[in-house]
């Protein structure tokens, strides 16, 4: 099992979710996050006082899937979340040791 963690622009969330569910993925977790990368921040001005806003809002999704689906899932996310501009975000793939469904106690791939 792998966890695919993707951080991307908030307005792309629905497209990414639709693309992943059409692959057969049955669940994911979403968080609203802030951060910075090469896009850097923006500047806000209030009555002449300028503030550099160094953390921009992004969404982070976490989805745990079978090893065999990882390549397609990553490809799908990149396609759905991409705009071709700086600040599109990143995808990370992590190994997952175990998964348990709380209600039934099923483990491993059965629990996904």
């Amino acid at each position: 099992m792998k966890m695919v963690m993707a951080i991307f622009k908030p307005f792309k969330l629905d497209e990414v979710r639709d693309a992943l569910t059409s692959l057969g993925i049955q669940g994911l977790t979403v968080s609203e996050v802030k951060g910075f990368g090469r896009q850097k921040g923006q500047t806000e001005i209030y009555r002449g006082a300028e503030y550099a806003v160094s953390f921009l809002p992004k969404v982070k999704i976490e989805v745990v899937i079978d090893d065999g689906m990882v390549e397609r899932a990553v490809e799908t996310i990149c396609k759905a979340a991409g705009t071709g501009k700086i600040g599109d975000g990143k995808v990370f793939v992590l190994s997952v040791e175990q998964a348990i469904r709380i209600r039934t106690g099923e483990t491993g791939a059965e629990a996904l």
Binding site: E44, I45, Y46, R47, G48, A49, Y51, V53
Partner: protein, 436 residues
């Protein structure tokens, strides 16, 4: 505040000419209450109260950081309550009874002699109770405006002491000088609805507070962006609506003068909002929400002294100038001078009030203001100087009085919260509450 002495003269469009009671009018028959005038003044009083709570409270509340939102709103609300009680005790008497030309007397102390159907000399067609409450709402908003200058760092107890003393020592005499039979009215200073009494007074007091209390911790280095400008937009909009009570209510009746005051208030406000917005757009690249609402308030401030004396074209000019000058005051001037007038009480009310006072001397016309009430464009260039002298007297009294009161309160209990309290926020430390 102008008196409306009798309906016959009002009908001739000349009531507004009388800033002070005259012998001719004093000899008139017993005053008769006018239901239309009374209804409008009851309404105006409610409108002006709404300007402070919730109008100003929200306008300021939206501009502070979230940790200080409740403390900021609390200041306006507590001032409303405290000034009301002080008004009952002695404030009204000091401002609006005949005493000397410097300060009123004590004949209305604890509301002594306020009868059910008595009238005040300045507004003979409405009950004195209504006149007194209408004036109270002005006495409330003026100290509340000052709170913008020291937002996010003053002790609540010190704020209460300061405002109580300031209201009696600075506000009441100045209101008396201009409206209550004092020497500025006698000099011929034109201040229809309180540009000098309310806005210059509050703005200058704010600047002195900002200088004496000092900057917020982290000013210039930390992010002090407004936490919710939607509150500020709602607040500014309530101020705008309430201002029709402020300016058109200063006609003291449901008269032709009230109608013109409403019209010029609307035009000046809109023009100033656009002027600030375009100035910001041209120099900073974007037309901001905070900019357009700040411009609107600047326009409201500047038209206040002029609202009973100018025509619509005069108000357009006043609005444009006020929007541009206040934009400069709240951005460039503040930055150059380095003081932390946190929410621009001086930048908007002090500077806007000054612009309005001077331009009243330029754009006042006799056909609107009445006999003798005319400015530069109506052939009376001297009025500009009269306005200038009037404002300088108020600036001097206000600055000195404010400074001394601050020093006294500082010696008594201290003005500022501790560093830890300031960093953690005033809401939790001063009031034991948080917003969410």
């Amino acid at each position: 505040m102008r008196l409306k002495s009798n309906s016959v003269i009002a009908g001739l469009g000349a009531a507004g000419t009388l800033l002070l009671p005259t012998l001719v009018l004093a000899a008139d028959e017993a005053p008769k209450l006018d239901t239309g005038d009374t209804a409008w003044m009851l309404t105006s009083t409610a409108l002006v109260l709404m300007m402070t709570i919730p109008g100003l409270a929200l306008f300021y509340g939206g501009m502070v950081r979230k940790k200080n939102l409740l403390a900021t709103i609390m200041q306006s609300f507590a001032i409303t309550c405290m000034i009301s009680v002080l008004w009952l005790i002695v404030g009204y008497s000091l401002a609006f009874t005949s005493g000397s030309t410097i300060v009123g007397g004590l004949s209305r102390i604890f509301m002594a002699g306020l009868t059910l159907d008595g009238v005040h000399d300045l507004a003979k067609t409405i009950p004195e109770t209504v006149f007194m409450c209408f004036q109270l709402t002005f006495a409330i908003i003026t100290p509340a405006l000052i709170t913008g200058a020291f937002a996010e760092r003053m002790k609540f107890s010190a704020m209460m002491w300061f405002m109580a003393l300031w209201s009696l020592i600075v506000y009441a005499p100045v209101a008396h000088w201009v409206w209550g039979g004092g020497f500025l009215g006698e000099w011929g200073v034109l201040d229809y609805a309180g540009g000098t009494v309310v806005h210059i007074n509050a703005g200058v007091a704010g600047l002195v507070c900002a200088l004496v209390i000092g900057k917020r911790k982290g000013f210039g280095t930390e992010n002090m962006a407004p936490h919710n400008l939607v509150y500020s937009v709602i607040g500014a909009s309530l101020l705008w609506v309430g201002w029709f009570g402020f300016n058109a209510g200063s006609a003291a009746g449901a008269s032709a003068n009230a109608g013109m005051a409403m019209a010029v208030t609307q035009f000046a406000t809109a023009a100033a909002a656009l002027a600030w917005m375009f100035a910001e757009w041209a120099t900073r690249g974007k037309p901001s929400v905070l900019g357009i609402i700040s411009g609107a308030v600047a326009g409201l401030v500047a038209i206040t002294p002029a609202s009973g004396f100018v025509n619509p074209m005069g108000s357009l000019a006043i609005g444009i100038v006020a929007g541009l000058v206040c934009f400069w005051g709240a951005t460039s001037l503040k930055k150059a001078m380095g003081y932390d007038d946190s929410l621009d009480a001086f930048g908007v009310h002090g500077i806007g009030g000054f612009v309005g006072a001077i331009l009243t001397g330029v754009f006042a016309v006799e056909v609107i203001g009445g006999e003798g009430k005319k400015g530069l464009i109506d052939g009376n260039a001297g009025q500009v100087l009269t306005q200038l002298w009037g404002t300088l007297v108020v600036i001097a009294w206000c600055a000195i009085g404010t400074f001394i009161i601050l020093k006294v309160v500082d010696a008594m209990i201290g003005l500022r919260v501790t560093n830890e309290e300031e960093i953690e926020g005033l809401d939790i430390n001063l009031h034991g509450e948080t917003v969410h």
